[in-house]
């Protein structure tokens, strides 16, 4: 590549100029409206910045906002809620998504219909998902309670949203319902990249379907599995819309994730300095996950650029 550029140096230089001309408008926009605010958040996180008390000014306070966050019980509870939600929903989504992808991969009839059905939950607004599932679980005579009682699984209707543990059930089910399709589609693409002759060879050697799955499918699907896993973890960690609409973090703050806590600190308490510190903590976690993701992807994506 180096030699190519040197050989056609004037052409190469003109191409460089053209490239920058084409890239700059979009890149400039991104830098201006995404990176600049991010640095502002960092700055805010080292200062007192309280919109309710403007007379206090914005004095520099070192890491006080961060130490406050790290000694704040509600912060740690929110972290625990986020981790609990992420672990449970992502694990379920990966397992169900894999099963769904395998089923889709092995059937030709009705694949289009299934694909459309599967894509719909992924594409509709999260707010709609949250409302639909809240409706199904809400009120003693909602459809979920009616079905449970009909099936003889309970005699009393459950009031899902007033107990700490039961409130998580509709939240996690709704998330699984909404995002499993996406996982399945990613894994299906991975399955379709596996060379079918491998299975034929295994069959000739007398390998049972289960052994084929363990020794061919799983290892070759590993990159796709990893991408789906990191993607989903990133998303689940940032959960906001779903819980805001379903429980608003309630009962009390029993289902409040870290993003919702931060949002409340910012827009209810108007403590922008402390809120900025919380935002930066969230950013650092997602950034680590994103780096992992880019490293996994990067090998063949960014490396393959011309």
């Amino acid at each position: 590549m180096n030699r190519g550029i040197r050989k056609t140096s004037t052409l190469g230089r003109r191409e460089q100029q053209l490239a920058w001309l084409l890239v700059l408008p979009a890149l400039g926009t991104i830098v201006l409206i995404a990176f600049f605010p991010l640095f502002w958040t960092v700055w805010d996180s080292f200062h007192v910045h309280d919109l309710r008390m403007p007379w206090r000014g914005q004095p520099f306070i070192w890491f006080m906002n961060y130490t406050e966050a790290l000694t704040d019980a509600r912060f740690w509870e929110a972290v625990a809620h986020t981790m609990f939600f992420t672990l449970l929903s992502v694990a379920t989504e990966m397992i169900v998504g894999l099963l769904l992808a395998l089923a889709l991969h092995h059937s030709y009839r009705g694949r289009g219909l299934v694909r459309a059905a599967v894509l719909l939950p992924w594409a509709i607004p999260t707010v709609v998902t949250a409302l639909v599932w809240r409706f199904m679980f809400e009120s003693p005579s909602g459809i979920v309670n009616a079905v449970l009682i009909d099936m003889g699984l309970g005699s009393e209707p459950i009031v899902w949203f007033i107990h700490t543990t039961t409130a998580w059930v509709p939240i996690i089910l709704a998330d699984v319902w909404k995002t499993t399709p996406f996982v399945a589609l990613l894994l299906l693409a991975g399955l379709q990249n596996i060379d079918p002759s491998l299975y034929e060879a295994a069959r000739v050697d007398g390998a049972r379907p289960w052994r084929q799955f363990i020794h061919i499918t799983l290892p070759l699907l590993q990159p796709a599995l990893l991408v789906a896993l990191i993607f989903r973890t990133l998303d689940a960690f940032r959960v906001f819309d779903l819980i805001y609409v379903m429980t608003s973090g309630g009962p009390g703050t029993a289902t409040e994730p870290i993003t919702l806590y931060t949002f409340n600190v910012l827009f209810q308490n108007l403590r922008f300095g402390f809120g900025a510190a919380l935002s930066i903590l969230i950013f650092l976690v997602t950034f680590t996950l994103a780096l992992l993701y880019i490293r996994v992807l990067g090998r063949d994506v960014i490396g393959a650029s011309p």
Binding site: I30, V127, F135, M136, L186
Partner: protein
Amino acid sequence: MKRWTRWSVLAGMGTIVAAMILPLYWAIVASLTPETQLFAAPSLFPTTLVLDHYCALFAERNFWVPIRNSLIVASTTTAFCVALGAPCAYALARLRFRWNAQILGVILAVTMFPQIAIVSPLYLLLRVLHLINTYPGLILPYLTFAMPLTVWLLVGFFRQLPRELEEAAMVDGASRLRAFWEIILPLSLPGLATTAILTFIYCWNEFLFALAFTLGPERQTVPVALALFRGQYQVPWGQILAAATIATIPVAGLILLCQRRIISGLVAGAVKG
């Protein structure tokens, strides 16, 4: 495949499709059920269906206002993103220049920015510019997630086109820019359309920014209006679900119209680039 495996796969898929569709079906049925019967005795096959909730939505609640807001914000953002994103994506996909790989990495990283990390400075910025509760006050923040997404998807599409196309044009004396404008752009219309649709859907569904940067019903987008729906005495579930159904229609229509392309675009964007 053995017969029983085929049957079990079919049965499994039937269950999954049912699980995917049932909640939506149930919501639509409920949106057509009179309020008095809504919680009386849930039945999958209702006998009386009425359009009351839909009528109330537009007659009493001016639901067309959030629909108008969402349409304006989502389509303007999409137009901006495609117009600025397509040249950028082309350069990143095809031209040799320094920092190419790094810029692509940065753009991919921005698609993963947590919105909450920039919501407070954006709020302060929009307040200084007097853009809180305005259309530009939503479009500008939306560019933060829509622009990198557009560029990222389009890079994938441009890479799929054979290089010979513009090389042939350039051998014939066309400049790089003309080759892009006259050869590549028309050929990548399907890719541009798919990208535009995905960007539009992301903007249509966005919630956090719209919640933070609007103050009242006159500029609220559909998701915010839905989430803040309140009744006078109790939760007006019939109307909420009618509104939810309407919010879903554009997205569902776009998805069903071109699901195959959307899937390949999405998967390429996430897996192969």
